[in-house]
Symmetry: C2
Subunit: 219 residues, 2 copies
DNA sequence: AAATCAAAAACTGCATGCAAAATCGCGAGG
DNA sequence: CCTCGCGATTTTGCATGCAGTTTTTGATTT
């Protein structure tokens, strides 16, 4: 079990329902019927209500007083806003990392980048996606600011479903790696402005790829 | 009534208890006894529990399973992190504002700044604090990014109790106004990098003032 | 007098029940 | 045929009750 059963039912439910939403099992707009969920998870309505309220605070569900809570709908406009916000947060973390990473952290980032080079060579998309998470997580952590890092992690988690597709674009891996190279170099050499710019550029390109995908799909 | 009684008890309680915490009525570390709060607000424990869970998601209270929730303690280290995070968020909003404010929004920011000049002249501290909120709110809104704006607002709200004191430092008003001048100019003229730098500088100085105050108090 | 441990009190987590609001369905009217 | 309104059903919001855990208290021992 990934989730320890030491915590309360409410916490387990919040995690479970949250995963269901993020993985698409519960589609946006779905009504969250308390009674139904209670029955489904074999608990009473009370913990379900509390879990829903927790999820509402994270933005995953929308609370409408006296009416069913629903899985939050994400309009293309909101998605755009979220991508921009995440880009800015990542860029900020990169900037802070350039300024305040310890030598060990810089070394780790460099190592991770080199490891990813091998994955690009072997065209291991799944491995690259996984390693990419770590790469970015190292930069969050390097900012030495848990609040900004948490915000970035939360947004990334939220956007993940929309990002998966884009690594399959042909030639995406080598391009990502090249962008990472610039980001990593800037951070390791302590060039805050360059780190910020490189990360912003990187994330913007990812976003553009995504927007392109949806535009194609929508058209 | 400031809070409309259209919403649910839970929402009202969350707002009420949240205000009590932010205003210092409920000091950090205080145990949030469900039974006691229920009695105090003349409701049952259920809405109290849900309100507490909401507040936990905002970071105002800390949830400890099977034990009382407590008002979150803020260590100086956390405070420092929060100040940095807020500074970065504000700077980012300023940058985005410089890039994407509409002409009308730029005009409004300019007007607000000029209005604050008069308050500095008359040394109206309370008025300046109020107007200062608006000034910064205009910049949040000008970023055209509700997510970043919400994050900034939330952090500002959270830090507000620690910020109040610092406007009373002698000569703070004119200095703030001068810094605002540079921020405003950069945004209005569309200089993103300058807006970012000016805002970061502004907020850092505020933070330094605060750190100075606490250091004095602690010593 | 301080420390230890056990019993009692208090409190949280969860289930259940009830009243009010919202939704749905059906029939009347245009 | 469509729209509107009214009653029935569903569903939320909140209160209350019970079981298990934590905390407190008081007695006992060193």
């Amino acid at each position: 079990m990934t989730s320890s059963n030491k915590q309360t039912q409410t916490d387990k439910l919040a995690a479970e329902i949250g995963d269901a939403i993020l993985s698409g099992v519960l589609a946006p707009g779905t009504r969250l019927d308390e009674h139904g969920l209670a029955e489904q998870y074999a608990v009473s309505r009370t913990p379900v209500r509390e879990a829903i309220r927790s999820l509402a605070a994270t933005g995953l569900v929308e609370l409408r007083p006296r009416r069913s809570a629903v899985v939050a709908e994400i309009t293309p406009a909101q998605l755009e806003v979220m991508f921009v916000a995440m880009g800015e947060l990542e860029a900020t973390c990169a900037r802070l990392s350039a300024m305040s990473m310890t030598p060990i952290e810089r070394r780790r980032l460099q190592n991770q980048h080199e490891r990813m080079g091998a994955l690009v060579e072997s065209d291991d998309v799944a491995g690259f996606i996984e390693a990419n998470l770590t790469f970015h997580a190292l930069i969050y952590a390097g900012s030495h600011n848990g609040i900004l890092a948490d915000m970035a992690v939360g947004l990334r988690r939220r956007l993940d479903p929309y990002r998966r597709a884009q690594f399959r674009s042909p030639g995406r891996l080598p391009r990502s790696q090249a962008e990472h190279e610039r980001i990593m170099q800037a951070i390791v050499s302590g060039d805050a402005a360059a780190a910020h710019a490189a990360m912003l550029n990187h994330v913007s390109l990812v976003e553009d790829t995504f927007i392109g995908l949806t535009a194609t799909r929508a058209a």
